[in-house]
């Protein structure tokens, strides 16, 4: 069974799947289900962690967690939307150790808080960067 069908079977209504073409899968989910879905993708489906992209839209924040399904030659991205006024999501470092860096980067550049991150401090910006200044915020 391919990756897309496994996800559909396991999570059903919880997720919305978009496929702009054969090689790309975008899965949109609620931020409360994120941990469970990522755990399934990373551990059970054995997908390769690539990176996460954080961005700000006009009325919310968005994070995409990218995974490589190398056997099928596909990239799977899990999309969550976060609240405009208090952007916050659970840290996934306990599932994917390598995700620690990008969470720190998104935190400092976009001001999204990662609850439960073991070491949430500046990665690219200097340590004395003024608080509340987020270079990638637009609105």
């Amino acid at each position: 069974m391919n990756a897309e069908n496994r996800l559909r079977e396991k999570f059903g209504e919880k997720i919305k799947i978009e496929k702009p073409n054969e090689k790309r899968i975008y899965v949109t989910c609620d931020k409360d289900d994120l941990e469970e879905i990522v755990k399934f993708i990373f551990r059970d489906m054995d997908a390769r962690y690539i990176v996460a992209t954080g961005l700000q839209n006009f009325d919310n924040f968005e994070i995409l967690y990218h995974f490589g399904i190398d056997e099928e030659g596909k990239v799977l991205s899990v999309r969550v939307y976060l609240d405009k006024d208090k952007p916050e999501v659970k840290s996934l470092t306990h599932i994917i150790p390598g995700i620690a860096w990008i969470e720190r980067e998104i935190w400092e550049l976009l001001g999204i808080n990662f609850v439960g991150h073991p070491n949430l401090k500046h990665l690219l910006l200097p340590e004395d960067w003024p608080e509340g200044n987020y270079p990638l915020r637009k609105y």
Partner: protein, 402 residues
């Protein structure tokens, strides 16, 4: 009595590095017990600048992310935009993309190999491999006009064609490099000192590759068979015959072997691509006028591993978000797994084994935390590494020769 911990800071600046970082090694005696890292010393906000450039200008901007992988980023970027647009590029452009990407792989791997040789005290290796790297750069200059920053990639195709009369020249140079590379590879595989010095050093397990998401030769040396060129073929990689090189042990020796064998594989790829375009005429680009709203993901195999780009368009002539992930971003954290428990004389080569790092080892000093006194600087650390090679030579009864 508790053991005294010594902190060894490595970094942050060095003229060679693509990504300056700052490493802190915590040592007990000779043994490294913890590693910390701090990048950001050369944060240029490329992602932010990219949001203010025209789609076509972005290719030039991201080419300048890194001087050594200066074509890998543009390839990943044009793949991402082409993914958004859902267009096919002409076949001739596909082959030309492959040729440039593989030339880059050869010179990058040779550069790494030379420096690795220097760290171990084999300056002959350093001089050889940099000498054989030179003809590769000459080929790049012949094709693109530049030894680096080729500016060949363009959304929808490539910017320059390869002329028919250049092909025999390129092929002749390649066949010369091939002979030298084979000699170098055999010299490495047979050398008892290199084996004694590098085998079993800085082992990265398959599990750590998975946990940190390591890519490229770092992952392939640990037996993880991932290569974007095979897994999701872009350019002309699905039109030609070639193999993914993997090794099993995950130590520094295997990382060197993977890279050297990959160079030979690259020559095979380039030769096939040249044969495919020789004597034929054809378009080298598909015209692209507007970029519609949407999002695209593109990735490509750089010499160090997978480069990943995500772009989002709102229909204007600039991207609204452009995310770039270079391979070192996931390879560097693996030091946490590969350095701990190793001795300090091996650290220079383990850090170098992943490939971002000779960059960082230039300015190393060892400080005694209690006395705040400088004990070693970088040249001492290299000396430690070279002395260990000397000791290994004596144990094996081999005559030490630089």
């Amino acid at each position: 009595m508790g053991k005294k911990r010594v902190v060894v800071p490595i970094g942050p600046y060095h003229p060679l590095l693509e990504e300056p970082e700052y490493f802190t090694l915590y040592c007990e005696g000779e043994k490294v017990v913890d590693v910390e890292w701090q990048p950001g010393y050369n944060h240029r906000a490329i992602e932010k600048i990219s949001e203010s450039k025209h789609w076509d200008q972005v290719t030039f901007l991201i080419e300048r992310i890194c001087g050594i992988c200066s074509t890998s980023h543009p390839i990943a970027y044009v793949n991402a935009v082409e993914d958004l647009l859902q267009i096919e590029i002409p076949e001739r452009a596909k082959y030309i993309r492959c040729i440039i990407a593989e030339l880059e792989r050869i010179h990058s791997h040779l550069l790494w190999f030379g420096l690795a040789g220097h760290f171990l005290g084999y300056n002959t290796v350093f001089m050889w491999s940099w000498k054989y790297r030179e003809p590769v750069l000459e080929i790049c200059e012949l094709i693109s006009g530049n030894r680096n920053h080729y500016a060949m990639m363009k959304i929808g195709g490539v910017r320059r064609d390869i002329e028919d009369e250049d092909i025999p020249v390129i092929k002749k140079k390649l066949s010369e490099i091939k002979g030298k590379l084979e000699m170098l590879t055999n010299a490495v595989l047979d050398d008892p000192v290199l084996a004694a010095r590098l085998k079993g050093v800085g082992i990265l397990t398959k599990e750590d590759v998975k946990n940190y998401g390591a890519v490229g030769p770092t992952a392939r040396a640990s037996g993880v068979n991932i290569d974007v060129r095979k897994d999701e073929p872009y350019a002309a990689y699905d039109l030609i015959e070639w193999n993914v090189i993997t090794c099993e042990n995950g130590d520094v020796f295997d990382k060197a072997v993977v890279r050297l064998l990959e160079c030979l594989e690259s020559i095979k790829i380039i030769e096939q691509c040249l044969d495919a375009i020789k004597g034929k005429k054809g378009e080298i680009e598909t015209e692209v006028r507007d970029i519609p709203p949407g999002e695209g993901i593109g990735h490509g195999e750089a010499p160090r591993g997978e480069v990943f780009h995500y772009i989002r368009s709102d229909g204007t002539n600039r991207p609204v978000r452009h995310k770039v992930r270079a391979p070192s971003y996931v390879n560097i954290p693996t030091f946490k797994a590969s350095c701990i428990g190793e001795t300090i004389s091996d650290v220079a080569i383990i850090l170098a084994g992943v490939d971002p790092c000779y960059c960082c080892t230039e300015r190393v000093s060892v400080y005694d935390m209690e006395k705040k006194k400088k004990i070693y600087d970088f040249s001492d650390l290299i000396k430690l590494s070279q002395e260990k090679t000397k000791r290994v030579c004596e144990e094996l009864g081999v005559k030490w020769k630089e």
